[in-house]
Amino acid sequence: MEVGPRVEAMHSEPISATVPHEVQGSDVVVRTGGLTKRYGSVVALDSLDVSLGGGVTGLVGANGAGKSTLIKILLGLLEPTSGRARVLGHDPTTEGEAIRRAVGYMPEHDCLPPDVSASDFIVHLAQMSGLPRTAARERTADVLRHVGLAEERYRPMGGYSTGMKQRAKLAQALVHDPRLVMLDEPTNGLDPAARDDMLALVRRIGHDFGIAVLVTSHLLGELERVSDHVVVLDGGRLLRASATTDFMVDTGTLLIEVIGDTHPTARMAEALRAAGLDSIPRGQLLAIEPPPGVGDRVYDVIRDAACDAEVGLVRIQADHHRIEDVFNLDTPSLAAVEGELSHDA
């Protein structure tokens, strides 16, 4: 779990298109080179180069970005059209069995038979992973405790809530004590409280259990919270791979919120323009890019503008990048991200 040092290294290392976010030494869990998968004319993965280390790695992308295809290839269930991959030092095309022994997989879709209890089903699946029956029983009791399925573990799974089903699905992925788990959209369909629980659990698996985690989501904000690293896929291509902290650096932009009668935000924008500051409305807020060399005097300018516009100043806040921003490069306020990306490339 050497998350700290590696995150540190990420900042100084440039990301190149061919060798993105190089993870060092024995810590590499997954590495792909030129990995491509085509279905007829559809390109699901387009010469993907990525390496993933320990801890929690978020795999972000819209639906159809190639997340599930990548997981299936890594499990050795799909043959790549070209390129290569290594999972825990094994080649998925020839050593799929060895990989599937050491990897746990939680699918995105429903995969639980309704007429069996979680306990019985997971004992069976533990045996299918090679555990002898008694060990399978012990491990099942253990992981069900860790994912927080209590008495309901003895009831048929057909009666489970979505949250309980997701926990059972997670438990089966962990029962054989894998070295890597791939969790495909584990928070799908969960209410906010259950979502938080699941994310906490994902983080615990990566950090306390010592199991490398690859977790996918199309809800990007989630991954900010639990991932040490984020890989962004878009249309089967690597958009960006980096430490999570890189995504959230201070952009230098200031966000301003004002209150007052009749269109306070518009009046504030006008007053700012009069003072020589261009602003861009963002929801209820105004975003301004302080010109270089202005320094802290910008706050005085904003305060005076608020006085001139006769609006109440609620807050001035430094803007941070969020992972979403990578997807919204056309948004003017995010030109900085684009600059950073092209610098990286």
């Binding site: 599937r100 069996v116 045996q127 054989h176």
Partner: protein, 295 residues
């Protein structure tokens, strides 16, 4: 916090890594086979899923018990029904059993998506399909062989010739293996393609029973018209007519086949077609689950 001190905390949190035995593919396959066999009889599943298989098993055994009782009390020294013929008489029960239990082994994992959880584990999709087929075949074999054993015990109690009886029962078991394999292949393939349970059951019964009904009708007409060859070729088209043909023509068991295969080439053809049904079914099942893996 350094990584070292952090990993010290990990153990306090109670996650225990597993350092024990991880079994080879053969043992995993065996575990899948045993679970499948138990599931075919409703064992390890809900209480009411045991009802149908055990009622059918009981009904299937009942005539044999009655026959043996009659034999013992009336001092018959010969079985009123042949070992191989028994399955012909109870083929209705056998068909319902095969049709109802095949979807449990072949449709459930596809319908509920749990096949993905198997395929993400060490077993290859082909091994999975083969083990499922073995589970159903052995379940059907248990269904077919228990009455044979009861009849054999009855015959031995009535002081029938031991060698004769053992030989005939042995041939009947061999024919039963072939029938069980054919039924498992046919119902397995139907179930693996019709993941809606009701449809699989109905389609299996239709193919097995009505299929045989039609073949039997054709054979009867051919027999009346004294063109037995037509009936013999028609018999190649249904598992039950193949079974009867092989039992009567090849194994010389006492079973009523309307137009049993006559002549070595035709008999060989019957055996070859029966084996083709068995192996072809396995091949299709392997292909079906391999496709499921790539989806």
């Amino acid at each position: 916090m350094t990584p070292e001190s952090r990993s010290g905390v990990i153990h306090d949190l109670g996650y225990r890594p597993y350092a024990g035995i991880r079994q080879a593919e053969g043992r995993i396959a065996l575990a899948l086979f045993v679970t499948g066999l138990r599931n075919a009889f409703g064992l390890g599943r809900s209480g009411k899923s045991k009802l149908l298989p055990f009622i059918l098993l009981g009904l299937n055994l009942l005539p044999a018990l009655i026959l043996v009782a009659v034999m013992v009390f009336t001092n018959l020294d010969e079985l009123p029904i042949g070992y191989a013929a028994y399955a012909g008489q109870t083929q209705m029960l056998l068909s319902v059993f095969a049709a109802a239990q095949a979807p449990i082994l072949f449709s459930r994992d596809l319908r509920h998506g749990s096949i993905v959880l198997y395929l993400a584990r060490p077993l290859r999709s082909a091994t999975y399909a083969l083990m499922r087929w073995c589970s159903l075949t052995v379940a059907l074999l248990i269904f077919l062989v228990t009455p044979i054993v009861v009849l054999l015990l009855g015959a031995l109690l009535s002081e029938a010739d031991v060698v004769d009886q053992l030989t005939e029962a042995g041939w009947a078991v061999l024919a039963a293996v072939l029938l069980a394999g054919m039924l498992a292949s046919v119902t397995g393939v139907i179930s693996a393609w019709s993941t809606r349970r009701g449809f699989g059951v109905v389609a299996s019964i239709a193919v097995l029973l009505f299929g045989y009904g039609m073949i039997a009708a054709v054979q009867a007409i051919a027999y009346d018209e004294a063109s037995d060859r037509v009936g013999e070729y028609a018999g190649l088209l249904a598992p039950y007519s193949l079974y009867r043909g092989i039992a009567a023509g090849v194994l010389d068991s006492s079973i009523d086949a309307i137009t049993p295969p006559s002549g070595a080439p035709m008999q060989a053809l019957y055996v070859a077609v029966a084996l083709l049904v068995v192996l072809g079914g396995i091949g299709l099942l392997v292909w079906r689950y391999r496709r499921a893996a790539a989806r």
